[in-house]
């Protein structure tokens, strides 16, 4: 059982200690499932995720569009058009990362800069576009992207009603920070719509697995 769990959850030594402690408290029937659930809870990891490596991201979120970051005038000129997911992902190699909120600390100071600073490495690996998405309106995303001087390197999109993130089950309740329902902090490498690598932070305030360096190693 220990081996099975080890395969399901790649662990470092501290997490392994937690796993041993969690499994030691379980006894009787239904042992394996209960251990998985309690370990899952102990590690704060999601047990049921809607998307995983191999998922087709366009099929997982049918009829969902994102809104390209824009000024209001650009919105008017384009009749407030939105971008269907297939236009973003079909026949393309895309690195996409999602974050809780424009103008928040970790998003502005760590997460976006991580991708902006590594854009040449992404281009060198044949990535067609690096995309940043958040549950914000496209005008706020645009103003934020300009403030970070990141619009040239990264394509910013708004998911104003959260429909993209809700479809992929990548939402988290950040009411405690007065943000409401937002995106988790995550990153993915997607080729012709198929997820090749997916990284979701356990804590939205961390950039441990969702930064550019991790995903560069997965391309």
């Amino acid at each position: 059982m220990g081996m099975l769990l080890c395969c399901l959850f790649p662990l470092d030594s501290i997490e392994w200690e937690n796993l041993v402690m969690a499994s030691a408290t379980v006894n009787g029937g239904g042992c394996r499932l209960r251990v998985i659930r309690s370990v899952s809870a102990a590690l704060g990891r999601r047990f049921y995720a809607k998307v995983a490596t191999g998922t087709d991201i366009v099929s997982a979120a049918p009829n969902v569009s994102l809104q390209k970051a824009r000024t209001w005038d650009e919105g008017v000129a384009s009749k407030f058009s939105t971008t269907p997911l297939k236009h973003i992902f079909k026949d393309k190699k895309v690195v996409i990362f999602g974050l809780p909120g424009a103008y928040t600390g970790v998003c502005s100071n760590k997460h976006v800069p991580s991708y902006k600073e590594n854009i040449d490495k992404f281009k060198a690996k044949g990535i067609d576009s690096v995309i940043c998405v958040a549950v914000n309106d496209p005008y706020t995303m645009n103003a934020w992207a300009e403030k970070l001087q990141a619009k040239e390197a990264i394509d910013f999109y708004g998911d104003f009603d959260g429909s993209f993130h809700k479809s992929l089950d990548l939402v988290t309740d950040l009411s405690g920070a007065l943000l409401g329902t937002r995106s988790e902090r995550w990153s993915a490498y997607v080729v012709d719509g198929k997820i090749k690598a997916l990284n979701v932070e356990e804590a939205p305030s961390d950039v441990k697995v969702s930064g550019a360096d991790t995903i560069l190693g997965q391309i």
Partner: protein
């Protein structure tokens, strides 16, 4: 909810802002407005042009004049989170008196009956453009703009009532 009208008492509600340490905090509207003369003006969205280039600047420019006429607080509210409101407020470095408060889930806007669905513009449910003059929690003037307009909700208009 029917839109707030002259003579009504404004509902209480909590709005959010970032403190000097950039930590999110909340404040009750009644605690800011009880026993005072306040102007509350609402805008559809931070970082949108009419809000940024006309509506807010009008109140910033006339703030001293409004204070001179006995207005204790000038409050701008929008259906945005406090991080966005805080950053948007910083784009007005000349601002001395206008408080920018966030109604992230549109709860207060709904309580005022002033919500507006702007989903087709990629904004979701927001606030109408409006300006209220409130004295000791009672609405004295309620100027609510029709969608897309900017006329009666300006600082210029509400000064006439003081």
């Amino acid at each position: 909810m029917a839109p707030i009208a002259v003579g009504s008492v404004i509902p209480d509600g909590t709005l959010a802002y970032l403190d000097d340490d950039n930590k999110p905090q909340t404040v009750s509207i009644h605690s800011l407005a009880a026993g005072k003369k306040v102007i509350i003006f609402g805008v559809p969205g931070a970082f949108t042009p009419t809000c940024s280039l006309k509506h807010v600047p009008g109140f910033i420019e006339r703030a001293e004049e409004l204070k001179g006429k006995g207005v204790d607080e000038i409050i701008c509210i929008s259906v945005n989170d406090p991080f966005v409101m805080n950053s948007w407020a910083k784009t007005f470095p000349e601002n001395k008196h206008v408080k920018f408060l966030a109604d992230g889930a549109a709860k207060y806007t709904n309580a005022l009956g002033l919500e507006l669905d702007l989903s087709d513009k990629g904004l979701g449910v927001r606030s109408k453009r409006f300006a209220l003059l409130v004295e000791d929690l009672k609405v004295k003037v309620a100027n609510v703009e029709s969608a897309g307009e900017f006329t009666i909700s300006s600082a210029e208009e509400i000064i006439k009532a003081l």
